[in-house]
């Protein structure tokens, strides 16, 4: 399996799960007025969506390490570190 397939499968899986959860959220929002379940579903759907790229890029790092592509692994690691630092700075 190549890099594109791994990234594609990871992103599609995250997207599908979040889409199902969000649709369920709307389904409950339409039937049940102001249900805490609706809110939890929306929260879970959005969080699933947002953490998907983080999981995928970590997966890519592991693949680069396994393929012994040291430069690409280093670049991916740098990207992860910079993203974490920039996230912390924004807080």
């Amino acid at each position: 399996m190549n890099l594109e397939d791994i990234a594609c499968k990871g992103l599609t899986l995250g997207l599908t799960i979040s889409l199902i959860i969000l649709t369920l959220g709307f389904f409950f929002a339409y039937i049940v007025h102001s249900s805490p379940l609706t809110t939890i579903l929306f929260y879970a759907g959005i969080i699933t969506l947002v953490i998907t790229p983080v999981i995928v890029i970590t997966g890519l790092l592991i693949v680069f390490i396994k393929m012994r592509e040291k430069y690409m692994a280093l670049i991916t690691l740098t990207v992860i570190i910079i993203i974490i630092i920039s996230g912390l700075l924004k807080r």
């Binding site: 995250g14 649709t23 007025h33 809110t39 929260y43 998907t52 996230g87």
Partner: protein
């Protein structure tokens, strides 16, 4: 139209935030009319479909379109609109990236390579923004965007000729591109041919991406609008690969920012869910269409979008410098 809700001030306990956020949304849901909410959600989702479609075609996140839409047409406070926009950009990025990866247009290696300097630039930009007058930056970026936008429109036909004559294949690949195996190929559905391309000017592209990141961090715009022309014009990458790679890069950058916003309880989850669903639908349609459209048309559309962004930046710059309010400022 939409009542604002309390935003937590606590910045040290993310789990506490998460529940605080849930509580805020629940309170918001209880106090706003149910039918009104449903109507607003559906309207938002429908309005986001064309935004997602456009974002998929030209490789942008759509934040610069979403924020004015939410504030001007839906009456949301600017802070709430920005938070929703960031989550929506993640959704746009993931949907676009997954579809383009499936079509094997995205260049992951190139995306990661450029992401390194873009995120670094964005981080530096956010720090520098505190010390530089913003109107200068807005006016500078406006000039660049309008120039690049007009250039893209003018050179649209050249792009198609380059693809037809396999010019991207004949470009001299530089050492860094060779070492990192950055060059690639994709299937162009509009031309019904496999297009091979070689990456060049890698260092120039890396430095130009820092500038794109700086502009993004300083002015709060998404990177896509600058990343696509940098890849296409500086690194000589076909515009469709640039669009697809930009989408992949975008979902990485935006997710970090979105996590911060969610943890701090700034995202209105109900409305964000609606915009996310809408943008996903638009992106799914747009990503199906993009590879079937000829490259010159995409480049022209990109040029128009860049010119529009250029105008927005100009309006903001003029407003901050002289107080004269042009439409869109």
């Amino acid at each position: 139209m939409v009542p604002s809700y309390v935003v937590s001030e606590n910045k040290f306990f993310p789990i506490h935030f998460a529940f605080n956020s849930l509580d805020n949304i629940y309170t918001y849901e209880k106090h706003s009319g149910h039918n009104m909410q449903i109507m607003l959600s559906f309207t938002l989702a429908i309005v986001m479909i064309p935004v997602g479609f456009l974002a998929a075609l030209v490789g942008i996140g759509g934040g610069t379109i979403i924020v004015p839409l939410l504030t001007l047409f839906f009456g949301l406070p600017i802070k709430e609109a920005v938070a929703i926009s960031i989550v929506t950009v993640v959704a746009a990025g993931i949907t676009g990236a997954s579809r383009y990866l499936k079509q094997k247009i995205t260049n992951i290696r190139l995306g990661l390579f450029l992401e390194m300097s873009t995120t670094l630039g964005a981080m530096l930009g956010a720090i520098l923004a505190l010390s530089l007058p913003s109107f200068v930056l807005f006016l500078l970026l406006a000039t660049v965007l309008i120039y690049v936008g007009l250039n893209q429109i003018y050179r649209g036909k050249k792009e198609r000729e380059m693809i037809k004559h396999r010019a991207y294949e004949k470009i001299h690949e530089d050492t860094i591109a060779k070492t990192l195996n950055l060059s690639g190929k994709y299937w162009d559905a509009a031309e019904n041919a496999e297009i091979k391309y070689k990456v060049t000017n890698t260092l120039q592209g890396l430095f130009a991406s820092i500038t794109a990141g700086l502009a993004s961090g300083m002015l709060g715009i998404g990177g896509g609008v600058l990343k696509v022309p940098i890849m296409n014009e500086v690194m000589k990458i076909p515009v469709k690969v640039a669009v697809a790679t930009s989408k992949f890069m975008m979902c990485l950058t935006a997710s970090a920012a979105a996590l911060v916003y969610i943890n701090e309880g700034r995202v209105n989850l109900h409305l964000a869910s609606a915009t996310v669903l809408g943008i996903m639908m638009g992106e799914l349609i747009g990503t199906r269409v993009m590879n079937r459209v000829h490259a010159d048309k995409i480049k022209m559309l990109l040029g128009l979008v860049l010119a529009y962004f250029g105008y927005l930046m100009l309006a903001k710059g003029v407003y901050r410098f002289s107080g004269v309010k042009l439409p869109g400022a």
